[in-house]
Amino acid sequence: MKKTDFSLVRKGILDDNPVYSHALALCPVLAVTVTAINGLGMGLATLAVMLASCLLVSLLRKVIPSQVRIPILILICASFATVVRFALQAYFPALDDALGIFIALIAVNCIIMARMESFAMKNSPLNTTFDAIGMGLGFTLALFLIGFVRELLGSGTILGGLITLPEAFPRTAVMTLPPGGFFVLGFLIFGFVKFRNRFLSGDSKKPPVKPKGGCASKACTMDCGEGGAPCNS
């Protein structure tokens, strides 16, 4: 991939959506998506860390020795996660309270590690920027969707009380609890695979999606630890 490639943005959002087609970074996906706004905030915070870390890695890719690259990548990612955490604490304290330790846990986010290792280490800063934006937006969109559905079904509001549904609309409390996250994610992955196979398989010419087993599966040991093959290169 030598030339500048805008399609990388689309790829991250649709074809290679980190959550729906690769099942990466499920902890924040399930934990913070009680409301759509929380999901959006978490997604944008992750996008910021991903963009900054990937860009720095891409700029430094020729000087990072490959033997010690994993600790360096972790250091870069953790530093930016710390910065974003303090920025949120200073400017959006309510959001920081709602997201809790998951802002700090951006430091060990599978998607960021995977993109730094498998993309930013090998590509130019410009392409890396597109890739990071695409993956970050794909992640944000995934979180927003889950949050939207859970908020709607669980508390009967849209976008934090912007629209409140009438009393007659049944509120299912379980949707705001951890089980609801699992249910909504399961059905959204199902919907995404259906959508992708019907509308996108024609031009991308790929076999139907078979979701991988999460970031601890053998295919991509890298994101949860050292060594092993990169995730979704």
Partner: protein, 194 residues
């Protein structure tokens, strides 16, 4: 003593690290296809988590706090955990080959497992005053992780062999839905401890 038991049970069952705190979902989904590896993974996480809790407690209270650099704790903790994983791996390799063979392949996976980092960070905010409480909380969380993982692997072994699951729900979607049902079941424990 009674309080420690309550903390242990609370961490293992009521606030289960996977099903109620939503930490460590990746290994929960990824290593639960078969029963045997799930036991190994659970044990490895429990060991690393317990040691990490002790190490990070000491580091936070005796190094970071006196030097007034607690804001660096995310970075410091990640490297402590990574170092400990290496250390545990080396010790196991030298002294216990059978244990190394059964746990060894899971150890590198835990380096940046968010369950480990998440629990030691919760320790800082919840139990920063007592070493013993921190360790018990971490050990209980590890035990809860193992319990959830092993139970889930048992369910999945049967479910994946079941041909009754609709074609389009197979794989990840049905796995998520089953995990959700299991999470509801664990809510039953909430009534156990007040």
């Amino acid at each position: 003593m009674q309080q420690l038991i309550l903390i242990f049970l609370g961490a293992a069952l009521v606030n289960n690290v996977v099903l109620s705190r939503s930490l460590g979902i990746c290994p929960f989904i990824g290593v639960s296809k078969q029963l045997k590896p799930s036991v190994g993974m659970g044990a490895a996480v429990t060991v690393v988590l317990t040691i990490s809790a002790a190490a990070t407690f000491a580091l936070y209270n005796f190094v970071l706090e006196p030097l007034n650099i607690t804001f660096l704790y995310i970075i410091v903790f990640i490297f402590v955990i990574a170092g400990l994983v290496q250390l545990v791996e080396m010790v196991l390799k030298k002294y216990s080959q059978p244990l190394y063979k059964s746990l060894g392949i899971y150890l590198p996976l835990i380096t940046t497992n968010c369950a480990v980092l998440g629990i030691v960070m919760l320790n800082v905010s919840m139990y920063s005053d007592s070493l013993l409480t921190s360790i018990i909380h971490a050990f209980g969380s590890g035990a809860g992780f193992t319990l959830a993982l092993v139970l889930f692997a048992g369910i999945r072994e049967r479910m994946d062999a079941n041909k009754g699951v609709p074609e389009s729900l197979r794989g990840l979607p049905i796995t998520m839905i089953v995990a959700g049902l299991m999470s509801i079941a664990f809510f039953g424990f909430a009534g156990m401890i007040i």
